[in-house]
Symmetry: C2
């Protein structure tokens, strides 16, 4: 197989399909989503059989249990995929929406129309549900998409791709609007990220290593985040009950997510009061605490105590490990966060009005939270209805990215014969 | 002078200044703009003297008259620069604005806060007024900026930079928020566009050749357009009076601007009726008409008639030259435009409601206009108050780019102690 030729063909087909998707009606797009959902439920047994082949092969190559867990599709997971598509169908169609239509002194009326981006390339690991979620979001936002999932999920992804294309066909939409790359050859990814003539944006989802490599090689813009080094700062004006709940939830609700807290900052005046209480909570979950010298001294009896190293302040543990630092005040906290944070999500716990406003304004992260868990930084929790990924960049899309992040706008002018004087 | 070291230092200083600019109050930023405007009026004689030095040097090297014209600063141009700053001061401050603050079922309240981008690099040709306009827009949007103007304007730009920095200082803002590169060495540009650690976005303004070169080398995202191949399509349902006014204005109002029409498309059923009328108008301005075979036959007596070549459909003349093609209908017009247009600005002239809606939806350009001149595609005419440039890309900013294009948003969450269940 000539990978370069194959990818050129995939790219051309996607580009052609994207033109038809851009002008598809809301009714057609929603019909496609509902047809795909129905096909997935109808073919649940066949999907699980394809998934079984992938799982057997992955076990044989000794894939890690956590990866196997992501790869496996339970009956519930299949129902969730179908349900997710119906939820996307129920969202308002962003495409064609015109906002801010205003008359200008010249007599023209100027507004902005939301339009699709074109072709979205999505690169992800061995999670077959992403195939369906991403296809659904791209269809609804009037884009064509090229999907490249982890090679371990290839059989399941191809089974799902057939059902997606069946749904597109049934709704009178181009089947090539959603294409799953059929080869597991890594060169296909190299091609996908260097075809700016066909691909408008790449959404990479996966580990930091993968994304760093893609950034280096890609000539197509990306909507991405590298990692989530999220902070909670407990201010000396904090409500300590809220503080304990938030700091516990932000670390222990789930360890492997990018919006999980990795570093806890505590104001010196209340450190001796709050830290032992928090330690009691963390001890139940056997959370390792990597403390600076002051916090270390306060928590000397804690069973999973470690002295923090400089590297801890910039490490995403994705595990029951938390670094803790005591700071003098809000200024030191903001300075620490703006230096070490991955600009993903950071939380202040405080009842002080002015400090809350300062934290919101001065912390330079995609999501800045006062008095709530970092775990809320998520497309569904923020009300986007769905999420294609999270961006820690400032251009185009920032924070959780939903349908709008897969769109652009153009200016539209309603004239009545006006000319420039 | 070690250019790499020099630019690293400029970059670091800009990054530091950008942090202070991001949190500057509206009052401080507006005070700086007013102080700079006052300083420019006060030092008008000195500015013109610096400009005189540049003009003499440019004449000595034989700079083209059109370029000399752009380089020269009349008293009126100096007044306009000051007036422009006062207009920017009068615009609402976009930074810190919070929109769409909504309660979620979890109890948190989520919105988006507008924030500055950081450091903007601006690369432009020998037009000293851009120095002041760009500085003003970057100050107002809470960014730091590094300005690299055409080397022919170096004395004038440095004189203006001093006044800008005087204004920043007077308002208590960091003087390094606006830095003008002090060397005319081209290597400085190469450095500026490859310092993503210091520069968040590059706005290049200039000819297609310059921008193509920058695109190839830059590792920093750009807000840009390459050229303006703008179309007017006169539909067979057009009001022919409006059509003639618009087609004449779009070509002849100014020849050298990127929103000037370069290709006129005419529906076959009305071609014989409208084209001779238009030719009478164009003849007065000695506009050369490069026609396809059908239009050529209709305009056989026109004094400046040329047969169009394939290359004409993708040429930006920036001159009194117009290519003309006869098409069968709206579909052929849209297909031609989406193929040959530079996605800048395209106009339909028609009284047909459904065709107007289809043109607006299906033409994939930054500005899509019905029944008005392409010349309206401009930040001031669209009501942005000011313009840093025009983007024909779809990511981040599209069309005329004002203050908002120099900003991003972050999610802000107002919580009351909420945690994820």
């Amino acid at each position: 197989m000539d990978i370069a030729n194959y990818m050129q063909q995939i790219g051309q087909q996607a580009k052609s399909a994207s033109r038809l998707m851009a002008r598809a009606s809301s009714a057609q797009k929603n019909q496609a989503l509902r047809l795909i959902a129905a096909a997935i439920l109808r073919e649940a047994v066949a999907i699980r059989a394809a998934n079984h082949i992938d799982m057997e092969a992955a076990r044989a190559t000794g894939l890690a249990p956590a990866m196997l867990d992501r790869l496996s599709l339970s009956e519930q997971a299949i129902n969730n995929m179908a349900e997710g598509l119906l939820q996307i169908a129920a969202l308002p169609d962003p495409i064609g929406e015109i906002t801010d239509l205003k008359f200008r002194p010249s007599g023209i009326q100027v507004g902005q129309m939301r339009v699709s981006l074109g072709v979205i390339g999505i690169i992800y690991e061995a999670r077959p549900n992403v195939t369906v979620d991403a296809a659904g979001l791209c269809i609804k936002s009037g884009n064509a998409t090229i999907l490249r999932g982890g090679s371990e999920a290839i059989h399941c992804n191809q089974a799902l791709a057939k059902l997606v294309q069946e749904g597109l066909l049934g709704a009178g939409l181009p089947v090539q609007a959603v294409q799953v790359i059929e080869t597991t050859d890594r060169a296909a990814v190299g091609q996908l990220i260097t075809m700016p003539e066909f691909v408008d944006v790449i959404v990479p989802r996966g580990g930091k290593g993968l994304i760093e490599r893609l950034i280096k090689e890609s000539t197509v813009p990306m909507i991405k985040h590298l990692d989530g080094i999220c902070h909670v700062y407990i201010d000396d004006k904090a409500d300590l009950v809220k503080a304990a709940n938030i700091a516990f939830n932000a670390k222990c609700h789930r360890y492997g997510t990018c919006n999980t807290m990795e570093t806890l900052l505590v104001a010196r005046p209340i450190a001796a009061q709050i830290l032992p209480k928090l330690a009691t909570l963390y001890a139940r979950k056997q959370v390792e605490l990597r403390c600076d010298a002051e916090a270390f001294a306060l928590l000397a009896d804690y069973p999973y105590l470690v002295a923090a190293q400089e590297a801890d302040w910039s490490t995403e543990y994705l595990a029951p490990i938390l670094s803790i630092k005591i700071v003098s005040d809000l200024d030191e906290a903001i300075t620490h966060i703006n230096h070490y944070s991955s600009q993903h999500t950071d939380t202040l716990v405080s009842e002080d009005y002015s400090r809350a406003l300062r934290f919101m304004r001065e912390v330079d992260s995609a999501s800045v939270i006062v008095n709530a868990s970092t775990r809320f930084a998520d497309g569904f929790e923020f009300g986007l209805g769905a999420e294609i990924g999270i961006s820690t960049d400032k251009l185009h899309a920032r924070g959780p990215v939903g349908l709008h992040g897969l769109t652009s706008v153009k200016y539209v002018v309603f004239g009545h014969g006006e000319v420039r004087e």
